[in-house]
Symmetry: C2
Subunit: 302 residues, 2 copies
Amino acid sequence: MDNQIVKSVAVIGLGSMGMGAAKSCVRAGLDVYGIDLNPMALETLDHFGAKGVSTDAKQFAPLLDAVLLLVINAKQVTSILFDSGLAENLKPNTAVMVSATISAQDAQQIDAELKKHGLLMLDAPVSGGAVKAEAGEMTIMAAGSSAAFTKLAPVLDATAAKVYNIGEAIGLGATVKIIHQLLAGVHIAAGAEAMALAARAQIPLDVMYEVVTNAAGNSWMFENRMKHVVDGDYTPKSMVDIFVKDLNLVADTAQDFKFPLPLASTALNMFTAASNAGFGKEDDSAVIKIFDGIKLPGMEES
Amino acid sequence: MDNQIVKSVAVIGLGSMGMGAAKSCVRAGLDVYGIDLNPMALETLDHFGAKGVSTDAKQFAPLLDAVLLLVINAKQVTSILFDSGLAENLKPNTAVMVSATISAQDAQQIDAELKKHGLLMLDAPVSGGAVKAEAGEMTIMAAGSSAAFTKLAPVLDATAAKVYNIGEAIGLGATVKIIHQLLAGVHIAAGAEAMALAARAQIPLDVMYEVVTNAAGNSWMFENRMKHVVDGDYTPKSMVDIFVKDLNLVADTAQDFKFPLPLASTALNMFTAASNAGFGKEDDSAVIKIFDGIKLPGMEES
């Protein structure tokens, strides 16, 4: 059984979440190999105690028991695993944890490809933000075989405060994350719509924020993102274009299931309008800028 | 100055919020007169220590320093104050706190009528639910003159944990409450939409609920109302028809300000469809029943 235990893991994608996860694996005593295109990120992880860092994972393939992918989308996942030749060089039964936000269909296609190479997949999107990742306290919503869960236990233990086992079928993890993003996106857009109406009605936005965050109309996203509107600071923590992407994944999921989503489709239109108006790279709270005829903190009246 | 201090208050409308507020006023040592059409509610408050109870407020009018209205809508407020002859029998400078959820326009019309009788108005919607009301810990969002705030201070102290002074202009309190209800209504409808999609995708709803309530997609309403869906219990805490009413007030407000509200108008359509399908008197979480082709806890597949 000892050969089932993961001792070495490559963390691919050292952004805010990936870097935190990689450091958490180092702290847990795993042999960590860090992969990113950004040399600064590689240097940071190298100094933190990685066994190796590189822009290309393939060279480490024979050394790995597990791979954790924390990249942006399905295209990056398939490019790294299959186009660059990583998958064909991994040892059989290496466990591949795919933590990008992707569609269930993409998750299933990736799983089919991995199976051809004798590899295990965990469909395991994450949530929690950079601070939780750094603390090894991500929330992971995972689907896969018990073999994949067992093999990845040391990586899950090192990186997560909560691991939800959604089921065996690859795609369930992806779907739970997408439904979560439906709520997150609608809540940001609803917060923006409410604060825009408050601005129009001459309600001081700091008072409106204070009332809502102390009452039943509050949401995690309202409290976090509408603070940026009150402060007039649209420095991106997470960008408008991320929700254009994620709410399009929601729309694809609705299409696959032939299911109507009146609010999510409306929120997608709002984020798409914001991106189209030039706010795609601003903080996602900048979706409020689609509303004309109001004066927001830090802005001239439009 | 002593004649400015409120010693006696009539609480009109002894529902879940009004009864709690009335008891809180009794506990604070005020002379409380309770008014409702329901004899059971009158008996309860009588035993709790009211100075007087009745189905008609007019008989107590000369004894009152203040009136607190916790009824359903503007029609009830105007009927009680003006059609039944209460206002014309109150002493000059009696303070009238209007805590129904009503439009800004209605608040302004009520204020104009009260002024004709030499009465003070506080435009003071509340939030917090029955438990908070019982504890004397409502959230009150109030607008009015400093004379009205000063005169009502003993009542505000007795009933509220937080009092937000939105400004002098009557209507601002009503508008803040309406914007709060925009968020509350959209969040319930969004929770229903997300849980309906989860049901369609064969995600166990208790797992979906657990993931969301531990992640950034959570809202106060999701956590509170989607529990009813997980339990399959649509016993009304607050009814679908309340949000048909409140989101129609949101729509009226949007019309007054000539302001687009893409999400609130969508949520209004969802609650209206639910009411139209026969679920108006069920818990507001029953808005999920507008989605066909899913199996929910406690229900057969539709």
